[in-house]
Amino acid sequence: MNKAYIFVLGGTSTITLSIFLFVLVPRVEVEKINKEGLSAQAPYTELELKGREVYIENGCVYCHSQQVRDPSAGADKAFGWGRASLPSDYIYDKPHLLGTMRTGPDLSNIGSRQPSRDWHHLHFYNPRLLVQWSIMPGFPFLYDVVSSPTQPSPTAVKLPSAEDKWLLPKPEAEALVAYILSLKRDREPFLPSEVKK
């Protein structure tokens, strides 16, 4: 018999060890934290969860992180992204969206940093309307543009550059903005019983 079994045996035990260390033990540890129920996030509403789906579908995570490092590790706090993240900030996040790229800024506290709904709609339609140096893609396919001398509907947002042009956010855009506005991880953690929402 040739010696394939050594490699089957050795290969299986090293991968099993790494499953033990990196999949199972962290689960026990994080579950303990989650049981305490402390979170800076309130549970997502149905609309926010729908917006989260839009965020995932359009791959926002490939440019935006949602994890803030301690000031010793970077200028995160100086840029206004809030306190360092805690495991309990993510107990409602499935799938997680921590992200590992900052082509764009971190979004952990974007809901507190930029609370304007209209700003986000204009920015999603075309980021360069508001931030000239931005290299973020626009998402014009989430909007209809209509001409009207007066506000055509209560949700319409006026385009700043063109006269009488209004943005009509599609349902996906409304959901996405609701999700973005819900991100306020700069708050101190609280118990679910303290949530007023």
């Binding site: 040739n2 290969g11 035990s13 999949v23 995932i56 995570v61 100086a78 993510y90 790229m101 140096w133």
Partner: protein, 512 residues
């Protein structure tokens, strides 16, 4: 909770028992290998005779083994080349969007956030997996001296894998994505890929079972291990219904780094271990050293993933463990480097004669550089600068392109004529492919490495702005598109070379 306890005890017991059994095997002398085994890749009187790109009289002695799985291997190679071209067109589009954010921006299907995961999944699962499996399985008959078994199962696995990758890509386009980096493919598609992966292992193990060779050559160690690791990894990572939040992020990056370290890397190293000495016609420098390289990789590489989350909200011990293991990777990397580079160094003049050798040596050098880079930027001081930046993208391409992709180009250029019994008609085009790909990836890795580093420094500057970290990268991102265009051009040459040999060239110049 109980199921969790059972898994904890079970995995711990399996790993401890496995290690114990391994130590027993070591004591009994079953692990160590005779140095003479390094010569098992040569037939009688073959040593000392180089085997160059085109077939030689020597190739004829291997002919029956080389062509034993002709249909499925050709299918794997052609699939890989088509996915490569699609994947790199997408990659170039994604790259251009950094400098022209409105380019192709009005359609929801062509938005950056969809094309980027498409690019990643296509080059990983479409191109690299197909190419690496094709070359590695093509080598199995040569190394076991038994024709490849179950070729129909292998072919079906290839069909299933193609279906899986296609459906996975459509899913990303139309909003069916698991939403995790490296694991975007929708879960029903993952089942297809896991089955296909396991099906590839059947011909491998059946062929080994039939073999009468007393010793398995080092290439086979890596191939066996990779085909055990991938299905386990893929199933655990995709089907962990109890995961969310930070623990899911940990499992996510555990997988994402292991798919590189335990899937494409071992297959790539295995191919180098065969082709380098085979082309040169001399055995590898130190066969004993290759043992260190293999077992070091198995132990260290499976635990490095958390360096992707340093500074994040993960337990400190797990981050530190990954840092230690990442630095520990220097041991297998240096042993493999000594082995490869010393073997190649004595025969550098042969780079003139064999383009395949150029691909292989370029790949081996990239492996050393990108792995040492990896150990270095797992250190906190280094990581805090490079984390969240394009440096990581540059590093990933140096590993997945400079190393594994270049090695697989070499492997396919070596295997294809022997598989079909026809010689390359336009070796100049293979040469052109090498130079455009090599210059392309060097421009890519250097430009993006510098851009990423500057971006990282801007992200450290508490007196600066985020805006500065974006603006500083723009010229380097443009340079990356130049490198990427060269790479895409080289892939078109690759596809042309393969298709021409397969469909438009009649059998000629037989050595019989």
């Amino acid at each position: 909770m109980n199921a969790q306890l059972i898994f904890l005890v079970l995995t711990f017991a399996i790993s401890v028992l496995g290690m114990a059994a391994f130590v027993v095997a070591l004591i009994q002398g079953q692990v160590l290998v005779p140095p003479s085994a390094a010569r098992s890749i040569f037939s009688k009187n073959e040593e000392g005779n180089p085997e160059l790109d085109q077939r030689t009289a020597m190739s004829e002695t291997w002919k029956a083994l080389d062509q034993s799985a002709r249909t499925p291997i050709v299918f794997f190679f052609v699939s890989s080349a088509i996915w490569l071209v699609i994947g790199s067109i997408l990659g170039l589009l994604v790259s251009l969007k950094f400098n022209a954010p409105d380019f192709l921006g009005s359609s929801s299907l062509l938005t950056f956030g969809k094309l980027r995961p498409l690019h990643l999944n296509i080059v990983t699962y479409g191109w690299l997996s197909f190419a690496a499996l094709g070359v590695s399985l093509w080598l199995v008959p040569r190394l076991t001296r038994v024709p490849l078994q179950n070729t129909k199962i292998l072919f079906s696995a290839g069909v299933l894998w193609n279906v899986g990758v296609t459906l996975g890509c459509l899913g990303i386009l139309f909003g069916y994505s698991d939403g995790l980096e490296w694991l975007e493919f929708w879960w029903p598609v993952d089942i297809l890929l896991a089955i296909a992966g396991a099906m590839v292992a059947i011909p491998l193990f059946h062929t080994i079972y039939r073999s009468k060779e007393e010793h398995l050559y080092v290439t086979m160690w890596y191939t066996i291990a990779a085909l055990i690791w991938f299905p386990i990894l893929f199933i655990i990572a995709n089907f962990h219904p109890f995961h969310s939040g930070v623990e899911q992020a940990i499992a996510n990056w555990w997988f994402a780094h292991n798919v590189l370290g335990l899937w494409v890397t071992p297959l790539g190293l295995g191919v180098i271990y065969y082709l380098l000495p085979k082309i040169i016609g001399r055995p590898i420098f130190s066969y004993q050293l290759s043992l260190f390289g293999f077992w070091g990789l198995a132990l260290f590489y499976s635990q490095v993933g958390m360096h992707h989350l340093l500074g994040g909200p993960i337990p400190t011990w797990i981050a530190n463990l990954s840092i230690v293991m990442s630095v520990g990777m220097a041991i297998p990397v240096v042993t493999v480097a000594i082995n490869h580079h010393i073997t190649a160094y004595k025969h550098l003049h042969m780079l003139k004669d064999s383009v395949v050798l150029r691909f292989i040596v370029f790949g081996a050098m990239s492996y050393t550089v990108s792995s040492l880079q990896g150990s270095l930027h797992a250190l906190r001081t280094f990581n805090y600068i490079t984390h969240f930046t394009h440096w990581t993208v540059s590093h990933a391409h140096l590993g997945l392109y400079g190393f594994t992709t270049m090695v697989m180009f070499g492997g396919i250029y070596f295997a294809f004529p022997r598989l079909l019994g026809r010689d390359w008609k336009y070796p100049q085009l293979i040469n052109l492919h090498f130079w455009t790909a090599a210059i392309g990836i060097i421009i890519y890795a250097v430009a993006l490495g510098i851009g990423g580093w500057l971006q990282g420094e801007a992200l450290q500057n508490t007196a600066g702005t985020f805006e500065a970290s974006v603006l500083v990268t723009l010229p380097y991102l443009a340079a990356r598109s130049v490198g990427g265009s060269l790479m895409l051009f080289s892939h078109l040459l690759f596809l042309f070379n393969i298709c021409f040999l397969l469909w438009f060239q009649k059998s000629e110049g037989n050595h019989e």
